[in-house]
């Protein structure tokens, strides 16, 4: 058992960096005023300047103008605004067809389903066995009434990265808006909005050692989206409600702290984790693309065992990981991502996701490999599946 818990679910939430907390503290205790117009009192003007600074920094990271970026409560809200906002703005005028990939995360997938119930037509694009969207299939799926394509930058479960530059070019050739959910790539994989033809991008702080409850939406100047939340005139009159200034400051600080060196280190840990498991534990399959993959994600199916049991055994040994098993989910359904890439039930129920972050070490990687080998061996001994295999 490791001396302290080993946390390997960084795609779900991360430990907030102390420097992020330090940067946020003054905005709780001293500079707590609402962001006012420049004609109000000093504290309000100071708050406004802080918010503008955070907006400019995040915009700059995407090579965008500050007025092309709004703060939201997280990437789930950002994707809701992007998809439903475009549908509301263009549904009557231009058309009622949207395209998403089958393996999108729930905010995109369920926004699409919600629109479907209101009479929109949705195409759910297949991917290949590694989770990659085929650009030719996308081109074929675009119809005269298509208004929006939403394809993630990287997958939440299996980490496969899409070629958003190519996808964006296809959308723009056909005069269709393109939204991408970059929750799991920003800012570790660069997106330059002056080069990549993407119109809307969802991002969040909780995956990068920033606070929960703050995210953002980039929208290319001139992109038509309907007002999301009625209230005051905040966020360029797109999203009413008091701004989360400590969150915005924390988000900007979290982004500032991500370095290419750190991302490389995390990727090396990921490679060690994947390579050791595949080499040392029999009957394992990597889910997702081997190289076209976010640096922090490993997702492997352990055949003949069920993921909730693996998770529970690992938890007792001090490791936190996630699984695509039905038993673990809130809907009793296995991972739609593993099914989406053509995996069967057994592959979904036995899939384990391990996602790395700033605080993980090489010792932790070696420890989880050893723990997994032990747990999977024990569970296979009592499993009726895989009888012909050596136990």
């Amino acid at each position: 058992m490791p001396d302290k818990p080993v946390y390997l679910d960084n795609a779900a939430a991360t430990r907030v960096d102390d420097r992020v907390v330090d940067a946020m503290m003054p905005y709780f205790l001293e500079k707590y005023a609402v962001a006012t117009s420049e004609f109000a009192y000093s504290q309000g003007i100071e708050a406004r300047e802080a918010l503008d600074g955070a907006r400019a920094a995040l915009g700059a990271k995407l090579n965008a103008k500050p007025e092309e970026f709004i703060f939201t409560s997280g990437s789930a809200e950002s994707s809701n605004i992007a998809i439903k906002g475009v549908a509301l703005a263009l549904g009557e005028k231009k058309g009622r067809h949207i395209i998403v990939s089958k393996i999108e995360d729930f905010p995109v997938l369920h926004s699409a389903r919600a629109l479907e119930r209101q009479g929109f037509r949705v195409t759910y694009l297949e991917t290949d066995g590694e989770g990659v969207v085929n650009p030719d299939k996308l081109r074929e799926a675009i119809a005269p009434d298509t208004i929006l394509v939403s394809i993630q930058h990287a997958n939440q479960e299996i980490g496969t990265v899409q070629d958003i530059a190519q996808i964006g070019r296809i959308c723009h050739e056909k005069d269709v808006l393109f939204h991408t959910d970059a929750t799991h790539t920003f800012p570790r994989i660069e997106i330059d909005t002056r080069k990549v033809p993407v119109d809307l991008i969802s991002i969040a702080a909780h995956t990068i050692h920033g606070p929960k409850g703050i995210g953002g939406l980039y929208f290319r100047q001139g992109t038509r989206i309907a007002k999301w939340m009625d209230g005051g005139f905040q966020e360029f009159d797109l999203r009413g409600g008091l701004e989360n200034i400590p969150g915005a400051i924390g988000f900007a600080k979290a982004v500032e702290l991500i370095t290419p060196e750190e991302t490389r280190r995390i990727q090396e840990l990921r490679d060690r984790l994947i390579d050791r498991i595949l080499a040392e534990i029999p009957d394992t399959t990597l889910n997702g693309h081997r190289t076209q993959r976010v640096p922090q994600n490993a997702n492997i199916s352990f055949h003949y065992v069920e993921g909730e049991s693996v998770t529970l055994h690992l938890d007792m040994r001090g490791f936190a990981v996630s699984t695509g098993s039905a038993c673990f989910s809130r809907s009793l359904e296995g991972s739609h991502v593993i099914y989406g890439i053509g995996g069967d039930h057994e592959r979904a129920h036995g899939s384990m996701r391990m996602t790395l972050g700033r605080y993980n070490t090489i010792e932790e990687v070696d420890a989880i490999v050893a723990a997994l080998a032990e747990v999977v061996k024990e569970l296979r001994l009592i499993s009726p599946l895989g009888r012909d295999k050596e136990k």
Partner: protein
């Protein structure tokens, strides 16, 4: 921190009793499938003199509740006559485990069924087979009593989640009282199909949702 499983469940999960395959079993059965996420195999050894279960073993592909129920059901079965063992209910098994979370009821039913099927298998192999029964409303209802409603932890018949069952020329039609896009719709549908599709005189099972 409140853990969803009782101490007894965790004990049986961590140290399952009676685990493994029995090569010379007198009766055996496999319940479930990877589709529903859980499978359990039950093996029994029966003394032909007094029809008592002298040994029972199980194997499990499943979550903690599945493993723990496999462990407890084999413990409960040992020493009982096959008639007594047939009547071990799901409630007795879960009570012996100090209860299970409602949503996990469906994973634990398998082991209880597994034991009954293993006994039936024993009876079949020893010339005690009942007549092949035609599928009636009662048969369907009996089978569906083993499908749990994850909202309540009780079965779908008792909670009236399944309605309007009809049987006509090998086609069973029924309605699940949930919207088709409900969180549990897919899982419940798969479990119902699994219970009914295997009936010898049933060709199709049509499942409708209420919305």
């Amino acid at each position: 921190m409140k853990f969803p499983y009782s101490d007894a469940v965790m004990d049986h999960f961590r140290h399952p009793r009676n685990v493994g395959k029995m090569d010379d079993a007198d009766g055996k059965a496999m319940e479930g499938s990877p589709a529903c996420g859980d499978m359990v195999a039950v093996y029994i050894k029966v003394d032909p003199e007094n029809q008592k279960i002298t040994d029972a073993k199980f194997e499990s592909y499943g979550c903690a509740s599945n493993i723990a129920t496999g462990s407890i059901i084999t413990e409960l079965a040992k020493g009982k006559s096959i008639e007594e063992a047939k009547n071990i209910s799901w409630k007795e098994a879960t009570d012996a485990l100090g209860g299970l979370p409602k949503i996990k009821a469906h994973c634990s039913v398998l082991a209880v069924e597994g034991l009954r099927s293993a006994i039936e298998n024993y009876e079949e192999r020893h010339g005690l087979v009942k007549d092949k029964e035609a599928t009636t409303l009662e048969v369907v209802r009996r089978r569906l009593r083993k499908v749990m409603n994850p909202l309540t932890g009780l079965d779908v018949i008792r909670t009236e989640l399944v309605k309007d069952i009809t049987i006509k020329e090998g086609v069973i039609s029924l309605t699940v009282d949930l919207p088709a896009n409900h969180q549990f719709a897919v899982a419940i549908k798969e479990e119902i199909l699994e219970k009914l599709e295997t009936l010898w005189d049933v060709k199709t099972v049509a499942i409708n949702f209420s919305e």
